[in-house]
Symmetry: C2
Subunit: 456 residues, 2 copies
Amino acid sequence: MRRSDIVVIGGSAAGIPAALTARQFYPEHSVLLIRREPQALVPCGIPYIFGAIGSTEADLIPDAMLQNAGIDLLVDEVTSIDRQREALATAGGEEIGYRRLVLGVGSQPVVPPIPGADKGNVFAIRKDVPYIERMLAAFDRASKLVIAGCGFIGVELAEENRRERGLEVTIVEMLEHCLEQNYDLEFAQTAEEMLRGEGIEILTNTTVEEIEGNERAERVRLSDGRTLPADVVVLALGATANSDLARRAGLAIGPLGGILVNRYQQTSDEHIFAAGDCAEKVSFFDGRPSPQKLASIATTEARIAGANLFALQRANPGTIGVYSTILGGKAFASAGLTERAARLAGYQVITGQAEAINRHPGCMPGGMSLRVKLVFDAATRIVLGGQVMGAESGGEMVNAISACIQQRMTADDIALFQAGSHPGLTASPITYQLVAAAEAAIATWLKERQATPAPV
Amino acid sequence: MRRSDIVVIGGSAAGIPAALTARQFYPEHSVLLIRREPQALVPCGIPYIFGAIGSTEADLIPDAMLQNAGIDLLVDEVTSIDRQREALATAGGEEIGYRRLVLGVGSQPVVPPIPGADKGNVFAIRKDVPYIERMLAAFDRASKLVIAGCGFIGVELAEENRRERGLEVTIVEMLEHCLEQNYDLEFAQTAEEMLRGEGIEILTNTTVEEIEGNERAERVRLSDGRTLPADVVVLALGATANSDLARRAGLAIGPLGGILVNRYQQTSDEHIFAAGDCAEKVSFFDGRPSPQKLASIATTEARIAGANLFALQRANPGTIGVYSTILGGKAFASAGLTERAARLAGYQVITGQAEAINRHPGCMPGGMSLRVKLVFDAATRIVLGGQVMGAESGGEMVNAISACIQQRMTADDIALFQAGSHPGLTASPITYQLVAAAEAAIATWLKERQATPAPV
């Protein structure tokens, strides 16, 4: 029987950093990474394979990272885990012993039981080179694309196929607005305007009822009765954890279907860890189960799992959820709770917004507007979330906001944020959006306090 | 006698936010801002007036900000403060009563007693429109510029005048490297390479001994014996606090010559506050006097002063110092202590560095390398500083680093930083530079720990 001290299953955003972290913390132990796919796609890059990236080969995670760190790689599929013997069996017929195991086996796209979803030219987004190649071939022959689901993958795929391939694109969304889970109304509406401005049709408050046609998709019938012509259909309706392998091994499964883990990413077997899309998550804010699935969450969890294998050293505070994308050349980023999500969670909130050119004075070359919204708990004034849209630097500003959330900073802390500024890089320190949004929230709070009668 | 509840002296990075914050916290009180200059220049924009901005008119702070907030503006020079009567006298003959006073009177450039420094065509950087206009006129007739001092103003002025005006530019620096106060060797050397690549000459380890010529500067003689032809000379050698007015009013002055303030920005007279370049500062790290002078520090101090005028509500944790600039199209940013500064201050340090393209995969359009260095206290693993160079998004990433420093985050906290990532905006979450630099520092720490014998 082959043996490795540490075995990691999965070669993407969870598996790679889990293996790298394990090597770093436990250099005396051997690490074997097993992945099913001969080639691993950069998951966030997949929508851009249809446009800016142009091919699957250009969207591969280089194996050199593993080799350079002295991590062994096996391309094979693990079919079962024998926890008693601490050994794995693979489809290739290998048996592999482990002392510690990390499951980073990811997720797969949700495919609801829509009649016709099994027809040709109906796709979900699978992180698999041959599958994406089949999609590309179908898209090459298509002119009318219907996308079900207006989340990040949906809008990114829509834009790339519209702009780079000239397809007629319609997105169908059950909710009232695009990206509604991650942006408040004013941000979501701006995103929709950008997309519509590029010629993408967006139909909200409706769902795909049936995909019609013979062998291949020809039409999509919606719940509101409309029918759309389509020669290619993509279902971008979220993902579910790959928890089968764990379930069959008798590991506990969480309420949302992921592999149950504690704060240290240990499953119900303390020698087996899980990280990334396959692992159940809890919210940073209230510890409740969280459905978020993001490569950036996966890497954080993997760094926790990898460090904890033989001695607990890192704990997971729960997921904040930091999202970013570009639509119509504008960055749209979001961290933590939107105002809507915070209210739904029972918070009383105060928000503050600020907008300024990301240069000062505004005539400096390369200037673009950047708008920030911050969401605070009205009682404690602790920041719960933030949204950014506009200049590309917003993609990093949201990380400063994420730091504020992680550290439970208050509006006053953020108002006194010591930010760097430069004419060619940022707004002036007087109008710097992050600080100005916090001050705007404080202004609202002060006004409300002045309007509130003193307690009796 | 004219009266205003709140009087702010100074109309720049301290005065404006102090007045705005005062309005916000104390809307029932009148606010009068008095400034000497008919027009207020955006201070950080001054080097760019010689290039990208092109004129003083394009670099003015709009007075609309004050008007919209209901702040009265008086252009006049305050000549004395009568603390007993709580009243000011002005050069224009006014007497103005106050209940609370904020001094945001800034700094002036250091002009050392170099023989010839009083000749025509020898300038310092004064935040004054007519003065800058005279500089522009002199630069229009010049072909050879010598700049004494290779700090931020020196390098920015050098680059703008080289690139936009085609001047022959030489910078003379006393220290071993450009920007040495804010960047470690590898970053400073890269900055020097960029500047030299643009045809700017940099002479380090030497100083200006004498400016020779008749009425106007014609040559600069250096301490190493060399002589440089020059038809215009700029002294960019730092700034000293404008503390004369305060000193004459009997207010205490700090060890570095600034107006002494407590954590609430109160001077030795509790009704008088000071903020910005004129105020003495202490370091965030050890509470010792800090010579840092930055518009971003001024705005933070002003937000503290403005909020505290009638009731203490905000405290100054001390200055971190967050700097950024662009040289040769690359962002160079720095927050907190460099490795060198940390060692000089007596810390044992561990550093970590990471470099990656700010896109993923790297072939995504617009990609540019971005390198991060983090400096940690070896004992507590708390982050002390960070430097960033490369892509423009570094100008915001340094603010995420600043948040980590402000919150005294450890290397492990930063390794678990929940950062957003997107193919078109950032590196992948696996190689994200901020997190990867923290992990690199931890790797060093782990190796050192393994190499250290256990305590007896």
